[in-house]
Structure formats: C-alpha cells, structure tokens
Amino acid sequence: MGNKSKPKRDGFVATHIKQAKRSLYELTQRPLGNLLTLAVISVALTLPACLYLVGKNLSVAAEGMSASSQINLFLVEQTPEARIMVLKDELEGWSDVEAVEYISSQQGLEDMSQHAGLEQALSLLDDYALPAVLEVTPSLDTPTELKALTTKLQQLPVVTDVRMDEDWLERLGAINNVATGLAIALGVLMLGAVFLIVGNTLRFNILAHKEEIKVMKLIGATDSFILRPYLYTGFWFGGISAITAWILTAAVTILLNGAVEKLANLYDSQFRLIGMNWDETVFLLMTGTLLGLMAAKLSTQRHLKEIEPV
C-alpha cells in the first residue's frame, strides 16, 4: 500500500502535557488507594523536612547565643570605684575587646531584684554584697582566641574570677552536631522510603496492566510510550506529596511557634521559629518530584522487560 501518507502529529510538548493531564486524571479515578499512597509519601517527606528545620533553628539559636557571648570579670570586693574606672579604660583600649560595661554591686542587686521571686532571696542576703562586675564583649569569634583573652584577663590584679558561657556553648554545639547527623541519617532513610513506596506502587500498577502492555507492544508501542503514563504517575506522586509535605511542615511550624516563643521568653531571648524560605521550598518540591520520577523510571523499566513479547 503505497499511499501511506504521514498523518498530522502532535508535538513533543503537546504529547507530554496531554499525558501529564491524563495521568493526573487517572489518579483521581482510584481516589482512596492513591490518597493513602500520597499520605504515606507526604509523611515520609515531612519528617526530613521537619528535622531539617529543627537543625536550622538550632544553629540559628546557637549563633545568637555565641554572638552575645560575654566574659564576666568578677572584681575583688571593696575595690575603689576609681580603680575600676581606670581598669575599664585600659581594657577598652585593647584591640580584642569591643566594649566593656561596668556593673556596680549596687546595680547588680537592683537588676536581680527585678527578676520575679528573687526579692525574698535577696532579703536573706542583706549584709552580703554582690561583687562588682566588668562585662567584657570581645571582638573575637574563634574559641582559641577567646581562650587566650580569658587567660590574659585572669592575670589582671583586681580580678578574682573570669567566667565565660563557653562550656554551655560547647555543649550546645555538640548537641547541634548530633541533631544534624541524626537529621541527615533519618532524612536519607525517609527519602529511601519514598523511593521504595513509589517504586512499589508503580510495580503493582504495571503488573495490573500487564495485558494492556502486551497488546500495546504488539501494535508497535515503544517502551518510552508505554512507560510515559507511569512516569507521570510517579511525577505526580512525588510532586503532590512534596506540596503536602510543605503544607504539613508549615502547619507544624505555626503550631509550635507559640510554645517555642514561650520557651525563648523564659531564656530572655527574642528567638522565633524560622520556617522554610523560598529556596528550601523549591528544593523540597524538586526533591519530591525527581524522587518520584526516578523511582518510577527504575521500577517500571525493570518490570517492563519481564513482560513478553519483548
């Protein structure tokens, strides 16, 4: 038959848009099963996203702490005011000191009495004076330099004790490291779970359509044509779940914000929970979608080969 004219074909993009719509439509045809799958994938994506936010907030919180790290110099009792002023001026002249604030013993008492509940305690300390304190704000950030500065300050004549929040900061840093490691490990596991769920769901889809695939192969469908609907199903699974995961994460952030604010207030901090920014949102959506697509491709390609005829 020589008159096999070339019929008008749809373009590449048109074909794909058509298929994407069709796959989405087919997801709605089996709502309950697909909703369950989507819910499982969403939760599996929400968990690493939340862990990531925990890590991010912890490091922001830790940063805020170290930025305000101060060295307190406790001075020998009954040191004359003039002597302290001279010392203050001297310290302010140092290159590694940014600012020095003087808190007299009187002022220290006043500050303390402003905190609720401490008034009564203070009345017990009637004849006991608080030591005068010089609050030194260093202009350094590295722990070793800070250490050097503290030893230098320790050797000053009227100083009895030097205190830094260092120990506490170090512990916070270590906790942060553990949390980050845990978050990464759990995140990888959860993403692996997403991969397996999508792959397995599509494996069942392929097996359920075995007869149809056989017929399609017999009438000349290419593998990529046969796989396309499944790839788009994986694409939608990943994409929709990523969007749901984003919403869930945002909901968790909003719900927890009140509690965290309260906690921060107890620590005298202005800290607020930070949600996902634009970049992270895009990253989450892309990870979800690509993961769904990759899982679909690997799983369906493998199972397509098992269906005869080749």
């Binding site: 038959m1 019929p7 008008k8 074909t15 017929v215 399609m216 017999l218 009438i219 000349g220 469908a221």
Partner: protein, 224 residues
C-alpha cells in the same frame, strides 16, 4: 514484501517449529496459511512481527533484513503490520473507539486526525454505531471486527491474521474474510492463517501455503 529464506525455528527444549521455510509474499498479494494446529502457523506469524527470532535463515520485510532486528527498532517494524488475533486482544476497559484509536495514539497522531481515521475504520467494519460500547458488550463477531478495525486504522502495508475466524461460525467467518478481501483490493498484502479448509476453498483465487510439521509447501489452487 516478506521474504523467508531457509528459515528454521527451534524452541528451547528442541521442538522444531519451522524447518527450512522458503516463501515470498509479494506486495499487494493475499495468501492463506493453512495447516492444523501445532503445524507452526503462529510461529511463522510471530517471526514476521519479531515476537520470536529465527534460529536459522534470513527474513526480510520490505527489503529490510529483520532476522536480527534490534529491540528498539521492533516497534517501528510493527507499525507497518496490522495484526488480527484469534482472541481479539482488545482492552476491555476502553471503548471500541479508544481500542481502535490505540495504534494512532502510539504514534502521537493529533486527535482530529485520529477521529477521522477511526471513524473510517469503524465505518468499513460496520461498527460505527458501537463506537461508545465496551468490548464485552459486543458479540464475538463484532469483537473480531473491532480487532480488524484496529489492525487497519493506521493503514499498514501488511495484514497478518492469526485464525481470526477460529471462534466464528461459517457465515460470520465469511463476512470477516470479505473484509480482508476488501483491504487486499485496496493494495494491502494479507497473510491469513486458518485451519479452516472450507473457508479457504471459498476463495480459490488466492495462494495457499500449507504448513505440515514445520515444513511449508504451496498448494495448487482449484482456480488454476
């Protein structure tokens, strides 16, 4: 059109399905492929559309050697061949229209063109009023005609029919065969496998190839 040169096919386990088969089906020619079940008719058809590979010999289609065709070229070979199966192989969850449209959807033909061609094919097979039905709402004869409509919708150069009348009575068989007559008159080469000798006898004008235990022979037609 199709050229077999000394083609043999042995299945795993050593069963010899075809032995040194030689034949040539010319462009626009129609031929019966006879022989009782198990004689190798299905194997021969499977070799043409590359479902099976020959163990020996050479097969060419339209001048192309398809003996060792690469897997990724197979779909394009099959798009030139319309296949009608004994058991229809229709998709039961799709309408008659969608079933017939399938070969064109595979080639990403635009929907307007699909509509035109599918309607033409359904009209030819007398199924236009059944377009919205599901296959299992149709009778056996009608289902077979859907299979034929699907096979011809994208105007293949060759039609292969594997016992398309196997489940039909005399009258329906004759009607189905008439359809193939028509397509052949339009220039399509047809290879029609059947074990029904009476049916073959109604069309003495066509060549008759006979398979017996894997050996192929040409039977002289009554018409000559």
């Amino acid at each position: 059109m199709i050229n077999f040169q000394q083609v043999s096919k042995a299945y795993r386990g050593g069963r010899q399905a075809l032995q040194k088969v030689d034949f040539h089906l010319r462009r626009g020619e129609m031929a019966f492929l006879g022989g009782h079940s198990g004689a190798g008719k299905s194997t021969l058809l499977k070799l043409i559309c590359a479902i099976e590979r020959p163990t020996d010999g050479k097969i060419s289609f339209n001048g192309h050697d398809i003996t060792r065709i690469r897997s990724r070229d197979i779909p394009y070979l099959r798009r030139n061949i319309g296949i009608v199966f004994q058991e229809h192989c229709l998709l039961m969850d799709r309408t008659v229209y969608d079933n017939v449209a399938l070969p064109m959807r595979i080639e990403s033909v635009s929907e307007n063109e699909i509509k035109r061609r599918v309607c033409a094919a359904l009209d030819k097979t007398d199924l236009l009023d059944k377009a919205r039905c599901l296959p299992n709402q149709l009778s056996g004869g009608e289902q077979q005609r859907v299979g034929i409509a699907r096979a011809v919708v994208n105007r293949p150069t060759l039609l292969l029919a594997d016992e398309p009348t196997g489940n039909l009575d005399q009258d329906l068989s004759n009607r189905v065969l008439s359809l193939f007559d028509e397509f052949n008159r339009a220039g399509v080469s047809v290879l029609f496998a059947t074990h029904d000798v009476d049916l073959m006898n109604t069309r003495p004008q066509y060549r008759r190839l006979e398979l017996n235990q894997g050996f192929l022979s040409e039977v002289a037609s009554y018409g000559e």
